[in-house]
């Protein structure tokens, strides 16, 4: 068994330096690697290219890195929840590549599966297609999109073991498994780290081969973006 355990976020990100390209798992604020983001903010690395579906909110998640101008370029599908992001983008301080969500996920998948590119119909005939190769298969046009090339992938899982195997919980899975496969170096922070052997091999979502460093995170805030509830008397379907 190869031991992947590091002491914490600080050690896990110690070799992430200025100009690095990093993937960050999560959808909105759900399933984001809170500990590593905070460590990157403390370390003050700059000129980062961040690949993440969203850009956090003004005072949480990637928003904390944006506020300190640590991000040179964001590659995302939706950034609507972050006013500072929008300001930096419209003023030209921040470079942004907005790409379709399925394309983002599948470019991660391609990297993890060792495939250089994918063909997807998303964005055909739109500004997303500008400068890209179009191929016709069975009468329908597809764009060629390249696999991502990221120096680091940082993901958050529910449980992990000392061999780097990961299990995700509920919809906090989202981009985490595909990004975990896609990084040259993958860092996983987990809510509960157990000794190898305690997790059932049949229930592993991400095999440890994809994970290079793992640690048990602390003080998870797990902030909720839109708290929607129903009253106990409410019998509506949704």
């Amino acid at each position: 068994m190869i031991n992947k355990v590091v002491s914490g976020a600080e050690e896990a990100i110690k070799d992430i330096s200025d100009g690095a390209t990093i993937m960050l798992g999560g959808f909105g604020l759900c399933g984001i690697p809170e500990n590593c983001i905070n460590a990157l903010v403390t370390k003050q690395v700059k000129n980062l290219t961040c690949i993440s579906n969203n850009a956090g909110v003004d005072d949480f998640g990637i928003g904390l890195m944006l506020k300190q101008r640590q991000v040179k370029k964001m590659i995302s599908s939706y950034v609507g929840e972050n006013a500072e992001f929008e300001r930096q983008l419209l003023s030209g301080e921040l470079e942004v590549d907005l790409i379709p969500q399925g394309t983002l996920a599948t470019r991660c998948l391609a990297a993890g599966y060792g495939m250089p590119a994918i063909f997807t119909p998303a964005g055909v005939g739109t500004e997303v297609a500008e400068g890209k190769e179009v191929r016709n298969f069975n009468g329908k046009d597809y764009l060629m999109e390249y696999a991502f090339d990221a120096d680091f992938a940082i993901v958050k899982a529910w449980k992990g073991d000392t061999a780097g195997n990961l299990i995700f919980r509920s919809t906090s899975r989202n981009f985490n498994p595909v990004m975990a496969m896609a990084g040259k170096i993958t860092i996983a922070e987990v809510e509960e780290l157990v000794v190898a052997g305690e997790l059932d091999p049949d229930y592993i979502h991400t095999p440890g081969i994809y994970v290079h460093r793992i640690f048990q995170g602390k003080d998870y805030e797990k902030r909720i973006e839109q708290r929607t509830v129903r009253k106990r008397s409410d019998d509506s379907e949704i």
Binding site: F27, G28, L29, C30, G31, N53, S76, S77, Y78, V79, G80, E81, E86, L89, L90, V96, L98, I99, P100, Q101, G102, T103, L104, A105, T106, L109, T120, P121, A122, G123, V124, G125, T126, E127, V128, W158, R169, S170, T171, S172, R173, N174, F175, N176, P177, V178, H205, K222, I224, E225, Q226, R227, T228, V229, R230, K231, R232, S236, E237, I238
Partner: protein, 219 residues
Amino acid sequence: MFSKEEIAQRIAKEIKDGYYVNLGIGIPTLVANYIPKGINVVLQSENGLLGMGPFPFEGEEDADLINAGKQTITTLPGSSIFDSAMSFGMIRSQKVDLTILGAMEVSENGDIANWKIPGKMVKGMGGAMDLVASAKNIIVAMQHINKAGESKLLPKCTLPLTGVKCIKKIVTELAVLDVLPEGGFKLLERAPGVSIEFIQKSTAGRLVVEGEIPEMRLD
């Protein structure tokens, strides 16, 4: 003229037993409230869930369980969770039967614009481009005219496109329309009290009116 709730109610009538359905944000989300009783429908949320249930009871919110609108939700018996790549895999391979989404503009050849206003709004397309490029059946819920009375059903979209030649059906506060394969909006139903003349005046693209046009019914 229909309210947003009534647009949602009219669209819900298009949902059939056994459908897997993806609902966009805004009016489409409201459609879930009007799914006919007695039919089995599974809602897909593109952040990685099939079988989206109602909002949780107060105090039972789970930060790890949200929908694509980032709202806290619940699962149902038979629900499943998967990663984002698989989520769009099932969309691309047309396992999802029906997609319902909003639009800022639709053109008479079925182009849709719903993600960007140059110089103003840069929220991003999220999953919209994937959905419109792949879905076999898309219904658009949208306003027919803007606050100034200008049509959003156009000969050609003016805003950056989300997808081309992909929209087949539109439900607005004024009417239900099909987009014809050869181009043009075919008027199918009008909202109660709305005249064909008013719909004509409110549709900048080519409007096709043939025969009697019944009023939309919600029951």
